[in-house]
């Protein structure tokens, strides 16, 4: 049976009261023309017009080697095993897990059980989060952190009960824990059906399309803008923003190509590493220096930019220009004010503080890897840290192989299969690990040793 013929399965998880049953009801009652089988282990009021609800005991099996990374769900195997015999009657399977359940054994079942994996394909893991209560739960319970770590989609539910500010900070915290996840805000679990079904969540290309920056390195700045300016004196103005100060590095002769912007970013990182010089409004911004613009005053704050000769001036700023309505203005002798348009702007992935034990690590490297070295490294990494690594996704370039290798895993279990040909695309490796207490530096060094 080919991969495409396998029946997609979505795992729906989330804490008690997060709105799983409401979402299920929505999925089942919507006109989507699908025959959906729902496997659940909680009793609930669920409409079954278009689906079949099967109640199953929660039965987790540890393998004889005693490794908890290899646990599977016996009940799920039995129910799916029976369902697949009536496969032509179902297009989709939804597995709802109880509020306290670890999604691991459910997801692992699709890797560990050969009969199940030949008939079903794990499409994605959707985790419902109660925006009003998750913040407290994250600190206290391992399960809620794990549910966040496993998620391909996080539905941030009950947003009507929480302020925008609290939501933003929660979202940023969740994003830190799982950089690959897609976060959707919802009231009363009102989300478009296509955001939770048919995710192809293991398709890294799709994830990259959605969030092109998620594999990028983190920078101490969020934004850069390039202005094409004639020689003269300019004003940089900022309105009231979310922070009383903002770090900034200015470069003359900043190119606008992606490569040049990345070079500028790398140069900025080095300058940002140095202590910032405080700069009060009215002062001139020096080039090639880390400054901290003082923005405590109310109203428009203005700094001077002196351009000696025609140039492209690049600014690398701690916050985005939008947050402070930042502008570069040219004031001529007659006091006419002209705003200099942006030649190019780019957002960067800003560094976050990692408060939670659960987090994600991304590795991106150009070039080929030695398959044997990678196997050895990966084998050792997963056997030592398998318990703490919840999800692995990525694609790699094997030397001598014209096709890229796509892999994904849950704990110690992973599958790797050849995907599309590289063609003219530069050969590179992109890996993401989500887990607990991961040592980024060590993992990146380990991977680097696998490169040829």
């Amino acid at each position: 049976m080919s991969i495409n013929e396998r029946v997609p399965v979505t795992i729906l998880t989330g804490f008690l009261g997060s709105g799983k049953t409401t979402l299920l009801n929505r999925i089942l009652s919507e006109e989507h023309g699908k025959r959906i089988a729902v496997i659940e282990n909680e009793y609930g009021e669920v409409g079954i017009d278009q689906g079949l609800v099967i109640n199953a005991d929660e039965e987790v099996f540890e393998m004889s080697n005693g490794c908890i990374c290899c646990t599977v769900r016996g009940d799920l195997i039995r129910v799916l095993g029976n369902l697949m015999k009536r496969r032509d009657k179902f297009d989709y399977v939804l597995v709802e897990t109880t509020g306290l359940a670890d999604p691991g054994p459910v997801a692992q079942t699709f890797f560990m059980d050969e009969e199940i994996s030949s008939e079903f394909i794990l499409d994605g893991i959707v985790t419902l989060v109660d925006a009003a209560h998750i913040d407290q739960q994250l600190g206290r319970s391992d399960e809620s952190s794990e549910q966040v770590a496993f998620a391909d989609v996080l539905v941030l539910n009950k947003t009507d009960l929480v302020s925008d500010e609290a939501l933003n900070s929660l979202e940023s915290r969740l994003r830190d824990m799982n950089r690959m996840t897609r976060i959707i805000r919802a009231e009363n679990a009102q989300v478009p059906i296509n955001t939770v079904l048919n995710l192809s969540a293991f398709d890294l290309d799709q994830i990259l399309k959605r969030r092109p920056t998620f594999l990028e390195p983190e920078y101490p700045f969020e934004w850069s803008g390039v202005y094409d300016v004639e020689s003269g004196k300019y004003e940089l103005t900022l309105e009231d923003g979310p922070d009383p100060e903002m770090s900034l590095v200015a470069f003359a002769n900043q190119g606008v190509s992606e490569q040049e912007l990345k070079e500028g970013a790398e140069a900025s990182v080095r300058l940002y590493a140095e202590k910032a010089k405080n700069l009060e409004p009215g002062n001139t911004i020096p080039y090639d220096e880390h400054v901290s613009l003082k923005l405590e005053e109310k109203g428009t704050k203005s700094f001077i930019l002196v351009v000696e000769r025609s140039s492209k001036v690049g600014l690398f700023t701690q916050h985005t220009a939008e947050e402070f309505e930042m502008k570069v203005l040219k004031v001529d002798d007659k006091k006419n004010i002209r705003e200099i348009p942006l030649k190019k702007e780019r957002n960067w992935v800003a560094e976050h503080e990692h408060d939670d034990e659960v987090g994600s690590i991304a590795i991106e490297r150009f070039g080929d890897v030695d398959p044997e070295k990678l196997n050895t490294w990966m084998g050792r990494l997963l056997s030592e840290k398998g318990v703490d690594i919840f999800r692995t996704k990525g694609f790699i370039s094997y030397s001598g192989n014209p096709r890229r290798i796509v892999f994904q895993g849950v704990h110690m279990l992973f599958t790797a299969q050849p995907d599309k040909e590289w063609g003219n695309e530069p050969r590179r490796n992109q890996l993401v690990f989500i887990g607990r207490n991961l040592n980024e530096k060590e993992m990146q060094e380990g991977f680097d040793k696998c490169l040829i």
Partner: protein, 357 residues
């Protein structure tokens, strides 16, 4: 319905008959001394065919709402039992398929059924419990709750029932309501077969191994190296050979001498996809196998577990179950498309046919 025509049988497989049932056929068996062939499908349909011709004798639709899970034919061949997702055990008459009695055990699935060898008892696995009924369907004994769902049951003698679940095999004396023995093993046991004398207990495990115990000596061993879980096991009539699934090969362990520990198993490589059913003939070292690729092969084995194919046919789709007629002169296979095929099985040499009709 089938889109691939079964091709002509080869070797000792000869044209017999074929028929169709409504849905994926999952269980089958011979009754009335081989005069009747019964098939159960996943949707809950049960069908009785004339053993020689394949002519439909009776048909019962939706015997179990939600689906059928198991069937067991009484040793006398006159009655049979089915069970399903509706939590019901149904005892029926083989002659007309009519229900004799329904026994509602509860809301859970009744996944396994087995008549005891002398036909006095019918054991039914119901979630974490096992019920033992008499021929009339009255409750005779019920187990305590097992630590997890019972995954297999088997009678070791007329009063002793073995159950397998996650982590253990338990032997119950159902006549005296006591536990005779508990064999512990940290693992998810998914299948179980006992040797005919009840001494050897073989279990397929979720982690792709076969674990077995010798009750007389207390020895146990684990046979690993399977690519998939060995869900199908079959002992020959003497208990010397154990055929196991778990890949596209049939792995056969020989218990002659001190085996199978430290021995190399016999391997039969006839199928291109994993083996989905296995059955030793009633007499002799002849094993039939069905595969997910739709092929059915019969092989004669030697004492070491190796052997050669003697007949083959293509059943059209994943083989759900296979069954030798009591005289071993016919072999039946049912498949995922609901096709029922029966081949006449001819024996070539008198030395091998010893014990056959």
């Amino acid at each position: 319905m089938p889109d691939i025509e079964p091709f002509n049988p080869r070797g000792m497989f000869h044209e017999g008959w074929s028929a169709e049932v409504e849905d994926y056929a999952i269980v089958c068996g011979w009754a009335l001394g081989g005069k009747l062939f019964i098939v159960g499908d996943v949707a809950g349909g049960v069908y009785g065919f004339e053993g020689d011709t394949g002519k439909i004798v009776w048909e019962k639709n939706e015997a179990h709402s939600g689906g059928l899970l198991a069937m067991s034919i009484h040793p006398n061949g006159n009655i049979f039992a089915t069970s399903g997702q509706d939590g019901i055990v149904r005892i029926c008459n083989c002659n007309n398929g009519e229900k004799i009695k329904d026994i509602k055990l509860g809301k859970c699935w009744v996944e396994h059924l087995s008549w005891s060898n002398d036909g006095s008892f019918l054991a039914a696995a119901f979630s974490k419990k096992v019920y033992v009924l008499n021929q009339e369907g009255n409750e005779n004994w019920v187990s305590e709750e097992h630590p997890s769902t019972v995954s297999a049951i088997s009678w070791s003698n007329k009063n002793e029932l073995a159950t397998a679940c996650y982590g253990q095999v338990t032997f119950f004396d159902v006549a005296n309501n006591k536990t005779n023995q508990k064999l512990k093993w940290q693992g998810s046991l998914v299948s179980m077969k006992l040797s005919p004398d009840g001494d050897i207990v073989a279990c397929g495990s979720q982690d792709n191994s076969v674990h077995f115990w010798r009750r007389s000596t207390g020895q146990d061993a684990e046979m690993t190296g399977y690519p998939a879980k060995p869900s199908h096991l079959s002992f020959d009539e003497t208990g010397m050979l154990l055929a196991t699934s778990g890949s596209e090969r049939i792995t056969v362990w020989s218990f002659s001498g001190n085996g199978p520990q430290g021995t190399i198993p016999g391997e039969l490589c006839h199928h291109t996809e994993p083996v989905s059913s296995l059955a030793f003939s009633n007499k002799g070292l002849l094993v039939a196998s069905g595969s997910r690729d739709g092929s059915v092969v019969a092989s004669f084995l030697k004492k070491d577990g190796n052997g050669d194919p003697v007949g083959a046919a293509f059943a059209g789709d994943l083989v759900g179950d296979i069954a030798w007629r009591p005289d071993d002169c016919a072999l039946a296979a049912v498949n995922a498309k609901g096709v029922v095929t029966v081949w006449n099985f001819k024996v070539r040499t008198t030395s091998i046919s010893k014990g056959f009709k």
